[in-house]
Amino acid sequence: MRILLLAHPLPYGRGSVKRIAVCLTVALLFGLFIPLAAQNPPVPPPGAAPAQTTQTTPPAPSTAPAAADDKAKDAAAPSPVPSTEADISGWIDFGYRWRSGVNGSLETYRSIVNLGSGPKLFGADFTLIDPKKRFFDTMHVLASGWGGDPYGTFHLDASKAKRYRFDVDYRDLSYFNNLPSYADPLLTRGIMLDEQSFDTRRHIGSYSLELLPGNWFVPFVAYERDANSGTGVLAFVQNSNEYAVPTTLSDRTNLYRGGVRFELRRFHATIEEGGTTFSSAQNLFQSPGAANPGNSSAPVFGQTLDLSSLAAAYGITGSSTYSKALFTSNAFSWMDVYGQFLFSQPSSNVHYQESATGNLYLPSEIVFYQSEQYLVSAAAKLPHTTVNLGTEIRPLKRFRLTESWLTDRMHDAGNSASAQTIVPLGGAQQTAQLLASSLVSNYNQTETNLFLDVTDHLTLRGGYRYVWGDASDAVLPQGGELTGIEHALLRRNVGLGGVVFRPTPKLLLTVEGEVASSSGVYFNTSLYNYQKLRTQARYKATNSLTVALDFTYLNNQNPTPGINYDFHSHQEAASVFWSPSNGKIFTFQGSYSFSSLRSDILYLVPQTLTQATSIYADNAHTATALFTLNLGHLGVVAPKLTAGGSLFISKGSLPTSYYQPMAKLWVPVSKHAQAFAQWWFYGYGEAFNPYEGFGTHLAAVGLRYTR
């Protein structure tokens, strides 16, 4: 099983020849650029403050015409660059990264970090402008994390005014998750096996084309694809025992959509139609051979249960259509109106087949059997309608009123037909079952807010939200452990308030809060009687120093007998950004956050059928810091050093620590190139599961080419 999980495409511990070749390439590049550095004058270090594009100080009236004349002369001077040449600006970072051996759990490292060694395209960011505007006016290209990294992204957008806008977004993401402690009932027996582990790769692509942007009539089409495939471990659950087995899984979702926007001066409408196709296949298997004892080794009536072979397969297909209609209108100078109608109806069909052999047990019949076949055909449909209307009315200059209404109605209906054949010693037994399921939600919300601009610097708001609805969940005929027929009502009154205070352009203070009282909710942990508060403050003390504070608080209580849920959380954060002399010497940015969470709820202890309180508590400290030092001119180069990182330390139900210090050195080597060297460390620890901790160093060298 572990071999299966380690069979990941990242080139860990391999490709030494390739690494050597890339090292040589990087060394050659350095060799080429270092002489260039000696020939070129020093350039400002990367990350220096961008050129001021804000309004410049106007010249004195007496000198303005003269200055204008000079500029006109400059403009008339012939450009050294032909005006028809495409203007390309941007940068590309590439290089090589090394990872040290993982000190501790490689599985955990790969679940959290998963960066490997090898040649990398760390990032690229280019903008192309075509002065002739032949095929496009502007094109942006962004990319990051290519070369075997777990998160590769690519983005391209191109546009031509009044003609089109084209966007491409592609991501290649790997998902590796295998922590021995996470889902391992066998841990106490010394077996390190996460029974819910995955090693998959997801490809997400999005392509959209908008025609005639900026016109009153804008058609658009788009295609999106989300594909995932890989391997993992899952438990095959069989009546009295569950057996960890390998699994393969894949799924594909294609989304097609198109529509048209009407953009008029006082009115806008969008009509969009779309549809999806979905397919998914999952296989669980165990080759005939050694018996799998499963998670329970306790004998049943003197017999030991096991699974000797398994082949289970899901074949799932789905499709949906959706309709979307949106409008906004500035009906009058004192009133805006908006609304939307959304409807979707996804459906699915599944065929599941399973064949298992071993010494298996059916507790409801108190019978042991040696093989079983299980077939299921099922289907589901989920019509879902949402309507939303709102308005803003401005009867007075300093007074605004907003009103919105939302209804969301969803009705999932499913049915399944299953047939099971078990083969005990006495001969085959067959059972069949028909089930119907229903999940209904009717959610409604109305909200009113009043805004009053007391002064140009102070805005107060107050409002009221009423939420109501009902939900039900049913499976017929009744039976089973978790599902039956349940129904719940939602009734919630919420008072809203807020203050925005900006006494000077340098200081901003925002406070917003909610106080709610409910008489019914869907779940024990739903927001019931709660108080929510958020405050933010930002102060720009000087042009080089900015301080910000953020505070959030939530207190939720459900005093209903039998629930008695009590939840408190708060989080405080502060950040500072200090960049004296516009970052010419150094820049520092840092933040600190403390969060605290406590959740208590009653539950029934199965062994004694008595009530007890489930308590969860967590206190966490988080800090980040980044210090950038411009080292000045050392000879002909002006290097820059960045150092910092982040830490997370929590105490409570699962004490955890996670450290990510780093340092990076930039050395300009030519007018257009800067070399960099970077070091990271990742350290992770769990107090209760120390075997899952790890520490790893990574180092990289590379080059940034800037144009």
């Binding site: 309004q55 990051s144 005014a161 719940a488 019914g520 942990t525 504070l549 489930s614």
Partner: protein, 311 residues
């Protein structure tokens, strides 16, 4: 007759006067009312850098085409207001600087053109609108390159949001998180900063399905046997989407604590009871076998084939 002569005399005097004035020069003629606008070209004479940069931005299109709003050739003044007085005095006090206006005033300028656009849907209900977060808080009108109008690179987007949402940024420093710090995602992949009808200004998949399905298509269903919270209250019922110490980014680090808070085994006899408490299960929670509920109830997001979400 004398009156006719009189009229002729007057006409003759007036015509003579006109000829004299014409002979002296046109300056003497009464001038039409001066336009308060000077046009973008005039702005570029002094603000050359900005004008050159602005020519590379999408707003520049107003200079060539926006006749219906009267901004053709006046792109600068479409935001800064009439510039004739400022052009004459070169005094910063004589021109509107949106960078120094209140958020509501800035929004009013932007919405002159952008009010009736798709991004306006949900704007009024958004916390950004409620808390007076103006358009220029995120949008930089004069910037060029890949940051024209608004940053696009994922790290830059996240940095921008982090400027205000400090507590959220801290949550991403937890070991298991959506890969924003790594640059694989940005805040706007999940949130619509212009507002949405969904909680926390989240995006949607298709028309009205949760934004999480944009990437987690395998969780979409519809399932024959649904897990109610997923549909009723969304993924955040169980998941801490920004970050968690739990490998599946659960609200609580231990799976059974997440499950127990709803499936507390205490049937609520209240007629307005909550969902998920009946019928109670009697697993021995002290046994390692039952401490991670999802080992068996592995199709926790919904099952196509099993009512107990076992397969």
């Amino acid at each position: 007759m004398p009156s006719i002569r009189c009229m002729r005399s007057i006409r003759g005097v007036l015509l003579s006067a006109l000829f004299v004035r014409a002979a002296l020069g046109q300056d003497a003629a009464p001038a039409p009312p001066a336009s308060p606008y000077v046009g973008s070209e005039a702005c570029g004479v002094c603000h050359e850098d900005i004008a050159k940069a602005f020519a590379k931005t999408p707003h520049h299109v107003a200079d060539g085409t926006d006749k219906k709003r009267g901004f053709d050739g006046k792109a600068c003044e479409s935001c800064h207001g009439p510039g004739a007085k400022h052009a004459g005095s070169a005094d910063a006090a004589d021109i509107r600087n949106p960078g120094k206006l209140t958020a509501a005033a800035v929004d009013k300028i932007c919405l002159t053109c952008h009010l009736n656009q798709p991004t306006h849907i949900g704007r009024l209900g958004s916390s950004h609108a409620k808390d007076q977060v103006g358009c220029t808080t995120c949008h930089t009108i004069h910037a060029t390159g890949s940051e024209v109008l608004v940053v696009r690179k994922t790290e830059a987007v996240n940095k921008l949001c982090e400027g205000c949402h400090l507590t959220v940024a801290a949550q991403f420093q937890q070991p298991f998180h959506h890969k924003l710090p790594e640059g694989a995602m940005s805040c706007v992949d999940c949130h619509n900063p212009h507002g949405s009808m969904r909680l926390a200004m989240t995006q949607s998949f298709g028309a009205n399905e949760p934004e999480c399905l944009n990437c987690h298509g395998d969780k979409r269903g519809p399932f024959t046997f649904e897990h109610g919270p997923v549909r009723f209250e969304g993924c955040s019922t169980c998941h801490a989407a920004h970050g968690s110490a739990n490998p599946r980014m659960l609200d609580r680090p231990v799976v059974q604590q997440v499950c127990l808070e709803c499936h507390a085994n205490l049937p609520n006899l209240n007629t307005k009871g909550t969902i998920g408490v009946v019928p109670p299960a009697f697993h021995d929670l002290l046994s390692p076998r039952y401490q991670n509920c999802t080992v068996c109830h592995q199709k926790i997001h919904g099952s196509y084939v099993d009512r107990n979400l076992l397969k």
